[in-house]
């Protein structure tokens, strides 16, 4: 090496050993460096050229994002196509805090253009406290066209404020149908775990009534949009689009006009009424008073509102027609009569003497008429609603037989109605009593004979039982008439089989109920009507909610009208019409209405007249082809883009 480098001679002083070793080692270092860089170059070649395709695919996935589009919820219609629940387009002003420098300043400027009230400010503030990054916060919804123009014009001064479109569930009839249609509310985590679509913004889930039971039908299918996004999810361009599918429409059996009529008959009493089509079980109207406004649930109910509802002893949130459980009182007597006829413990000619009271096993049971009815057969017993007759009949028949007949009639069983919180009522049996470690007394059977004691039914069960007795068909009440414009088979009278009770027994009871209303001195004379020759048959019922002591009753000063409201007896009435060709069955209960004959019977008559006038069942035969699509106005958005 020495010889190869000519200037070496100039540096005789240098440490040749060190220099030689250094050169050798520097070459080694350089070789290592070159080697490492070459390795890196070959790795680069592998990544970019050999595996390139694989990574190009991953890159595509990286910047193409699939986003689901929320489907609009299906509508709920009445039997004539009137919209009962709909979606309304909702233009909203939103703010994205990350895109503004000074949020308070922007909101200040915004409020100069669009007025925000204190409620809005409170909501915005609470949204800010729980905001996730880049999730817009709503400033104001239901913007008018003018307001939108004002915002658009001033948009340069309002960085971070965007207008987007959503939908809100609208109930045009508000509290008139609240218990049937139900309401929707924002989904919670549990709902989302069950149905992923609900995680999409703006989705609502049914929380009560039809909205809840028909959730699967109403919900719809999510659409999909493919967009190019950057790493924080900002949309750059849209690549593809599949529209969401709106949920199917659900058409109810309800006639909204009849519902209005029935509701106005009940006025503001705490009451419930059910109108059934006897022939096929369609619920024509179902009213529970008082009611509430279901729209309040869409954006969340305030605490004070909730408290008011909860403290109201007339319980506005409860659908009394299916969730109210009442002692049926004398309206139960036809069922007992049928049970006895079926069991053969009486015949139509069996006579029982009423002396005003009935003594059994040391207890005395009173008839409502303390002077007694004398000797009565079944017809008379129903007509006068004699208690003693049915005490004796019940004792003879026994609770098991009564229970079996009631089951056929729809009492004390869970009816398959498409609603939530449906109660099954109760027809007690000794076996049931024993599960609670109590002994069944004959006295319990005796009071059950007049629909008191443990017996409890719902207004819907009463209407169903009336309809079954009227037609002899095993109809079940239902609320859904069409799904997605297709008529369901249950709407046809042919769908329903015959009741497993001998027709002549039913006829005996029906004629008794006819006598109640139409014969001289019948207990339900006040319900008598003659609508174009169509007559009504029914049965009254006054159900005690508090027992009356013997001393008080015998003092002769007892008058239930003097009791506090919540201890007064319920007033009930069941009826069907026309008598010779039953079409409609109605059950009415006025909570603590005191006297059935004077309170419930006239109401039932008015309702029946209203029903026969409208005759909503007529469109069963000649399918009113009202074009549902013509109602598809701008209220329903075809789809909704998700930001």
């Amino acid at each position: 090496m020495k010889k190869k480098i000519p200037y070496r001679s100039r540096n005789e002083l240098s440490d040749t050993n060190s220099k030689r070793v250094f050169t050798r080692r520097a070459v080694l270092i350089l070789a290592i460096q070159t080697g490492i860089l070459s390795l890196l170059a070959s790795r680069l070649y592998k990544l970019q050229v050999i595996d390139g395709d694989k990574y190009i695919k991953m890159a595509k996935k990286n910047f193409v994002s699939k986003r689901l589009l929320s489907p609009p919820r299906g509508r709920i219609l009445d039997r004539f196509g009137t919209v009962l629940a709909n979606n309304k387009i909702n233009w909203r002003a939103m703010i994205i805090p990350e895109e503004t420098d000074n949020v308070t300043d922007i909101i200040e400027r915004f409020s100069d253009l669009i007025t925000l009230d204190e409620h809005d400010y409170a909501r915005i503030q609470s949204n800010f406290d729980h905001q996730r990054r880049f999730v817009p916060i709503m400033l104001k919804d239901f913007l008018s066209r003018d307001e939108m123009t004002v915002i658009e014009v001033n948009s340069p001064n309002l960085p971070g404020i965007v207008i987007d479109v959503g939908t809100k569930r609208l109930y045009p009839f508000e509290d008139l149908l609240a218990h049937i249609v139900g309401y929707v509310a924002p989904p919670n985590d549990k709902d989302i775990a069950q149905n992923g679509i609900l995680a999409l913004p703006g989705m609502r889930v049914g929380r009560a009534g039809i909205e809840q039971t028909q959730e699967d039908v109403l919900c719809g299918k999510a659409g999909e949009v493919q967009v190019e996004v950057d790493s924080v999810g900002h949309i750059i361009t849209e690549l593809g689009h599949v529209d969401s599918v709106q949920g199917q429409d659900v058409e109810l059996t309800i006639d909204i006009d009849l519902q209005k009529d029935i509701s106005s008959v009940l006025a503001d009493q705490s009451a419930s009424a059910v109108v059934l089509n006897c022939q096929n079980g369609e619920v024509m109207a179902m009213v529970s008073n008082p009611s509430f406004n279901p729209s309040l649930f869409d954006s969340g109910v305030s605490h004070t509102q909730w408290k008011t509802w909860m403290e109201d002893e007339r319980s506005p949130l409860t659908n009394k027609a299916v969730a109210g459980s009442y002692p049926p009182g004398s309206t139960f007597k036809p069922a007992v009569a049928l049970a006895a006829l079926e069991a053969g413990t009486i015949t139509e000619t069996t006579r029982i003497n009423c002396s005003g009271h009935y003594d059994y096993g040391g207890s005395r049971f009173h008839c409502w008429n303390k002077y007694g009815h004398g000797s009565l057969d079944l017809h008379g017993a129903l007509k006068f609603s004699c208690d003693v007759f049915f005490y004796e009949v019940a004792r003879r028949t026994g609770m098991e037989a009564i229970y079996n007949t009631c089951k056929k009639l729809g009492l004390g069983v869970q009816l398959p109605i498409e609603l939530t919180h449906v109660k099954s009522g109760l027809i007690p049996t000794p076996k049931w009593r024993e599960t609670y470690k109590h002994r069944w007394n004959i006295g319990d059977t005796i009071v059950s004979g007049i629909g008191q004691g443990f017996v409890h039914v719902t207004p819907l069960q009463l209407a169903t039982y009336t309809a079954r007795m009227a037609t002899g068909k095993n109809i079940a009440p239902h609320l859904i008439r069409k799904r997605n414009k297709i008529l369901l088979p249950q709407s046809s009278p042919m769908f329903w089989s015959d009741l497993n009770i001998q027709p002549n027994f039913l006829q005996k009871v029906r004629s008794g109920m006819f006598a109640v209303v139409n014969e001289y001195r019948g207990s339900g004379n006040k319900a008598k009507m003659d609508f174009n020759g169509k007559l009504l048959a029914g049965k009254t019922g006054t159900a005690q909610v508090k027992s009356v002591s013997r001393a008080l009753r015998e003092s002769g000063h007892f008058n239930s009208a003097n009791l506090p409201w919540k201890y007064r007896p319920h007033a009930l009435f069941i009826c069907f019409a026309p008598y010779d060709d039953p079409q409609y069955a109605i059950s009415v209960i006025v909570e603590h209405g005191n006297a059935a004959a004077s309170v419930a019977a006239p109401l039932a008559r008015d309702m029946m007249i209203a029903t026969l006038k409208r005759d909503p069942a007529k469109n069963n035969d000649k399918e009113v082809n009202k074009d549902i699509n013509s109602n598809n106005n701008e209220d329903t958005s075809k789809d909704k883009k998700v930001g």
Partner: protein
């Protein structure tokens, strides 16, 4: 032979103009070319705009260029005198950064003095090279053979290594250690000693790993299994590989790299600048950059080998090694070959502190080149013999 003629010119006391003439402008040109690539990459990282990266980087480069040429004119006599003060300053700054440094990604690394962001560990690397060179040039071959004489320089290396470890910045601590070791090796440390030191290294690694911070352990585990945590700690590695891969042979075109321009690529203007270049220019662009880096490294090694004095040789090798480590670690990191560790690509990545220290280093290297015929220090070594 042009070089020969230049070499035979009279050695000492030549004027500034003379020195400027002796600078190997070809080498300076290579450095400037690298800076130019950096400028264009920063322009792309800014989304096709001079701001916020490209223009400020250009200003810093101009400042760095003046420093580089200025340092290049300093003779070794002066550089030796600078060694201790610089080392002391770097140690002080390291201590300062430990107590009031700014935390970035779980590690304290930088400090702001008078509005300038300083990363003391960058300065430390250069001043350590300078100090070790000025320590070893006085030692001749025989003295290098005495292990006891290597104890003090070893301590000089270990002090900054420990301080940087405490920051805690494992990557930089290892690089400082390696640079120190390279100079020991180049200065003529005996092979048996080298082996003696190397044997316990695996055990040392084991101990160090046990003392690693959680975020550092996470880096190592995600490096080994990046797919386990694609949106978390493994995100950087996966996104970098995707960007490189989608570049292909010829690239997606300048300013059109999807991953980089859509911000999927993390820290694309600093650590992952090479990824962005390779995505936009493809393998062709990537191999050109690597080629340029290799040229600069080879040039640096040639400069050191051709120096007539031990000080210049060691200084040159140290500086070149420093530059090489930056490049190798950064490239391995973005290609997913080693755990990600916040090491920039010199001259190309955005950031003033690294740029200025690297250019200061090039200044030293060019000074070695300019003063290669100086027989500075050789008599000392000779006398001691």
């Amino acid at each position: 032979m042009v070089f020969e003629k230049r070499l035979l010119r009279p050695e000492p006391n030549f004027k500034i103009l003379n020195k400027l003439q002796r600078i190997n402008w070809l080498y300076v040109g290579l450095v400037c070319l690298l800076a130019m690539i950096g400028y264009f990459a920063q322009y792309s990282a800014g989304g096709g705009s001079s701001y916020p990266f490209a223009y400020p980087q250009l200003i810093k480069f101009c400042v760095g260029f003046v420093i580089m040429i200025g340092v290049a004119l300093l003779p070794p006599q002066i550089l030796v005198k600078l060694a201790w003060p610089l080392y002391g300053l770097a140690i002080l700054l390291l201590l300062a950064v430990l107590h009031m440094g700014h935390v970035g990604k779980g590690a304290e690394r930088w400090i702001i003095i008078g509005g300038i962001v300083i990363q003391p560990s960058e300065l430390m690397k250069i001043s350590l090279v300078l100090l070790l060179s000025s320590w070893f040039y006085k030692m001749n071959w025989q003295q290098m053979g005495n292990p006891l004489r290597l104890v003090i320089p070893a301590i000089l290396v270990l002090i900054p290594v420990m301080l940087v470890l405490k920051e805690p910045n494992l990557g930089t601590a290892l690089i400082i250690g390696f640079i120190g070791a390279t100079i020991f090796f180049a200065a003529g440390m005996r092979w048996y000693l080298i082996l003696l030191v190397l044997v316990p290294v695996p055990f040392l690694f084991k101990i160090v790993y046990n003392h690693l911070h959680d975020y550092q352990k996470a880096r190592i585990t995600t490096f080994l299994h990046p797919e386990n945590d694609p949106l978390g700690a493994g995100y950087n590695i996966i996104q970098s590989k995707i960007a490189l891969g989608s570049g292909g042979m010829w690239g997606q075109g300048y300013l059109h790299g999807t991953q980089g321009q859509l911000n999927f690529l993390p820290e694309k203007q600093t650590d992952f600048i090479f990824t962005m270049i390779a995505e936009e220019w493809g393998f062709t662009g990537g191999i050109c950059v690597i080629g340029l880096l290799l040229l600069i490294v080879v040039g640096g090694m040639i400069i050191s080998m051709r120096s007539c004095n031990q000080f210049g040789r060691l200084l040159g090798v140290g500086i070149t090694m420093n530059f090489f480590f930056y490049c190798a670690v950064n490239l391995s990191m973005v290609m997913g070959a080693i755990p990600v560790g916040g090491v920039p690509l010199p001259m190309v990545s955005y950031g003033g502190s690294a740029l200025l220290t690297v250019m200061f280093g090039f200044g030293l290297l060019i000074s070695v080149q300019v003063h290669r015929n100086s027989i500075f220090g050789e008599e000392i070594a000779k006398k001691k013999k």
